[in-house]
Amino acid sequence: MTEKIFNSIVGMEEENALKFAKEYLNDGGDPQKLLDVCREAMDEVGEKFEKGEYFLSELLLSGEIFKGIMDLTLPLLKESEVETIGKIVLGTVQDDIHDIGKNIFKAFAEAAGFEVIDIGVDVPEEKFVEAVKEHNPDIVGMSCLITAGINPMKRTVEALKEAGLTGAKIIIGGGRVDEEIKEFSGADAWADDAARGVRLCKELLGLGVEG
C-alpha cells in the first residue's frame, strides 16, 4: 500500500493518493510511516523538478496532495512524535504579496521535516524581528518576487542584526533573487527553486544531505 501511495504522489494522481492514504489509515496503518512515505515521495518530486522532468505545475499539485494527506495524518500523531529537523520562520517580504512560491517551499520544507512558521505576505521588518524573538528559529526564510522587495529584504537582514538576533541563518528565495541580491541583502543563501532551497536549509544547519 505504501508503495501505491508513493507512486500516486509522484505520479500526480491526487484522487488516488488521498484515497489510498485514507484506506491505509483506516486499516490501522502507522501514521508515522505514512508521513515518511510522503516525505520520500516529495523528495522524489523535488528531484524530478531539479532534473527538469517536472515543472511548477507538478510542484504545486504535489504540495496540495501532501497537504491533503497531512490533514488526515497529523491529528493521529502526537506532537512529540512528529520529528522535526529544524525550525523556519517564513514570510514574503514587505510590499510583496506573492505567496504561491512561498507556500510551495513551505510544503517541501515541511515534507523534509522542518517545522515552518508562516508569517504571511507583505511582512515588514519589525514583524520578522518579532517572529524571530518569539519562535527562535534556526532559519529565517524570506520570499521575494518583486524588485520592490529587494530593499525591504536588506532592511530586514539589518534589523535582525540590530536586534541582536544573529542565531538564525537567513535564506532568501523567490523569482527575483539571485547571487547579486544575496550579496546585496546580506543573506546567507538563496534559491529560486523549492527543492534546492530545502537542500540549502539542511546544509545551513550542517545536516548531512543524503541521497
Binding site: L56, E58, L61, A148, I150, E180, I181, F184
Partner: protein, 410 residues
C-alpha cells in the same frame, strides 16, 4: 550628440532603429527599450500615491525621468494595474473595451474592487500599488463561463469583485462615474503624448491582449487554483480558454481599430506549466490571439515572464516577423540562437544588476552580452522586468544607456 537634432528627427531615428530590429534587420545600433517602475516617483520626489492619483505630478515625474534617461522608447508611464476582466465584460463594445484595460487609483476607488490595493488607500503612500487577485469563481461555474463568457464575467463576476457593482442601482452610478474618470485619463494620455513627442520619443501606438488561461488565473479562479483545475477538470479548463478566445480577440482588435500597431501581452502561467500542459492548455488559444492580431497588421510584444526555456520552440509556430519575444529570466543568448531570423528577441539585463550592481559591472555585462546577441540584428536590449525599484542608483541606468551606445553600434 542628441542635443543637436530636433525632437522630431530623434523620434524618427529611434523609430527606424526599433523597427529595424523588429523586422530582423541590423539597425544603426542595438535599440534600448525604455523601462520605469518605482524609481520614477522616487526620482522626482513624489509619492506612489501621487503617481497614482495626481495626474499633474505624475506627468511631471514621467517627464523628468524620460528626459534624464534617454532610452529609445518611453519607459515610464502613469500608475495602474491590470483589469483585463473588464475588457472581457465590455468585449461587445468596441468603443469601450480598450478603455477599461487598467484599474487606476481613481477607478479603484470608483469600482471598490477587491483585486487591488492602492497607495494612500489600503496601503501606505509610498508602497507600490498591489494587484492581489483572488478567487471569484468556483469550479462548478466553469460551465457558465463556457456558455457565455461575456455575460458571466459582466453579470456574475464583476458584482462579486466590486463593492460598487453589487446591485444594479449602485452599478448605474458606478459606470457613470467610471465614464467621467475615463475622460480625465484620456486628457492625461494626450498630455503624455505631447511630452513624449517633445522629448523625441517615437510613436509606438500600443494596445494590449492577454492569454485566455491567464484571464482565468489572474481574475477568476486565482493563479494557483487554475493550475490545480488543469489537473482536476482538464476538459472544462480547456473549453473555457476556447470560450474566452473570442472576447479577448475582440477587445485586442478594438485597439487595432483605434490605430494601435502593437499589442503588449504579458504572460503569467507560462513558467508554471510543463511543456505538455503548455501545449495543451495555454499556447493554442494564445497563438490564435497573436495570429488574429498579426492578420490585422498588429505586431505582438509577448512578455514571457519568468523562465520560458522549456517552451522556446513553440514560438517557431508563428510566422516569421510576427512581433517581439520579450524574455525575463530566459537566457536571451540561447533564445536568440533558437529564434534567429524568425523572431526579434528583447531583454537581457537582469533587474538585480541594475538595482544593486555598479556602473562598471553594468558596462562589462552589456559589452559581453552584446558581443553575443548583436550580430545579425533582431535584438532589443532592456531590463528583464520593466520596473526598477525606488532605491536603484540613477547612475546605474545612465551606465546602461551609455554602454549600449558604446557597444551597440553596428
Amino acid at each position: 550628440m542628441a542635443i543637436a537634432v530636433s525632437a522630431e528627427q530623434l523620434a524618427k531615428e529611434r523609430l527606424t532603429r526599433v523597427e529595424a530590429a523588429i523586422n530582423l534587420e541590423e539597425p544603426d545600433r542595438v535599440p534600448i527599450w525604455g523601462f520605469g517602475g518605482e524609481i520614477v516617483a522616487k526620482y522626482a520626489g513624489i509619492t506612489e500615491h501621487d503617481m497614482n492619483y495626481d495626474s499633474e505630478k505624475a506627468l511631471m515625474a514621467i517627464e523628468k525621468f524620460a528626459r534624464d534617461f534617454p532610452f529609445d522608447t518611453l519607459g515610464a508611464g502613469p500608475g495602474g494595474l491590470d483589469g483585463r476582466v473588464f475588457c472581457v465584460a465590455f468585449a461587445e463594445h468596441d468603443d469601450l473595451s480598450p478603455l477599461v484595460t487598467f484599474i487606476t487609483g481613481p477607478l479603484h476607488d470608483i469600482y471598490g474592487d477587491k483585486y487591488t490595493r492602492f497607495p494612500g488607500r489600503e496601503i501606505s503612500e509610498n508602497a507600490t500599488a498591489q494587484f492581489r487577485g483572488g478567487t471569484f469563481m468556483e469550479p462548478d461555474e466553469y460551465d457558465q463561463l463556457i456558455e457565455d463568457p461575456v455575460g458571466f464575467v459582466a453579470e456574475t463576476i464583476l458584482p462579486r469583485v466590486c463593492k460598487n457593482l453589487e446591485t444594479p442601482r449602485d452599478a448605474m452610478a458606478t459606470w457613470v462615474r467610471v465614464g467621467m474618470q475615463l475622460q480625465k485619463s484620456a486628457m492625461q494620455g494626450a498630455k503624455l503624448g505631447e511630452i513624449s513627442a517633445k522629448l523625441g520619443y517615437p510613436m509606438l501606438p500600443m494596445g494590449w491582449a492577454y492569454a485566455p488561461l491567464d484571464i482565468i488565473g489572474d481574475f477568476l479562479r486565482g493563479v494557483d487554483k487554475v493550475v490545480l483545475d488543469i489537473h482536476r477538470y482538464p476538459d472544462k479548463v480547456k473549453k473555457a480558454t476556447e470560450a474566452l478566445k473570442k472576447p479577448i480577440i475582440d477587445y485586442a482588435l478594438a485597439y487595432a481599430r483605434m490605430g494601435n500597431k502593437y499589442a503588449f501581452i504579458p504572460l503569467h502561467l507560462n513558467e508554471y506549466l510543463s511543456p505538455k500542459l503548455y501545449k495543451e492548455f495555454y499556447w493554442p488559444t494564445l497563438k490564435e490571439v497573436i495570429l488574429a492580431l498579426y492578420e490585422e497588421g498588429v505586431k505582438s510584444i509577448v512578455f514571457f515572464e519568468g523562465h520560458h526555456e522549456q517552451h522556446l520552440e513553440t514560438i517557431l509556430d508563428l510566422p516569421r516577423g510576427w512581433g517581439i519575444a520579450y524574455f525575463e529570466k530566459t537566457d536571451v543568448v540561447k533564445a536568440k540562437e533558437v529564434l534567429k531570423d524568425h523572431t526579434c528577441v528583447m531583454g537581457g539585463v537582469p533587474i538585480s544588476l541594475i538595482a544593486s550592481g555598479t556602473p562598471e559591472k553594468i558596462d562589462e555585462f552589456v559589452k559581453d552580452l552584446l558581443e553575443k546577441v548583436k550580430p545579425g540584428g533582431g535584438f532589443i536590449l532592456t531590463a528583464g522586468v520593466g520596473a526598477v525599484p525606488a532605491e536603484t542608483p540613477p547612475e546605474n541606468i545612465t551606465a546602461l544607456i551609455e554602454a549600449v551606445e558604446k557597444y551597440g553600434k553596428y
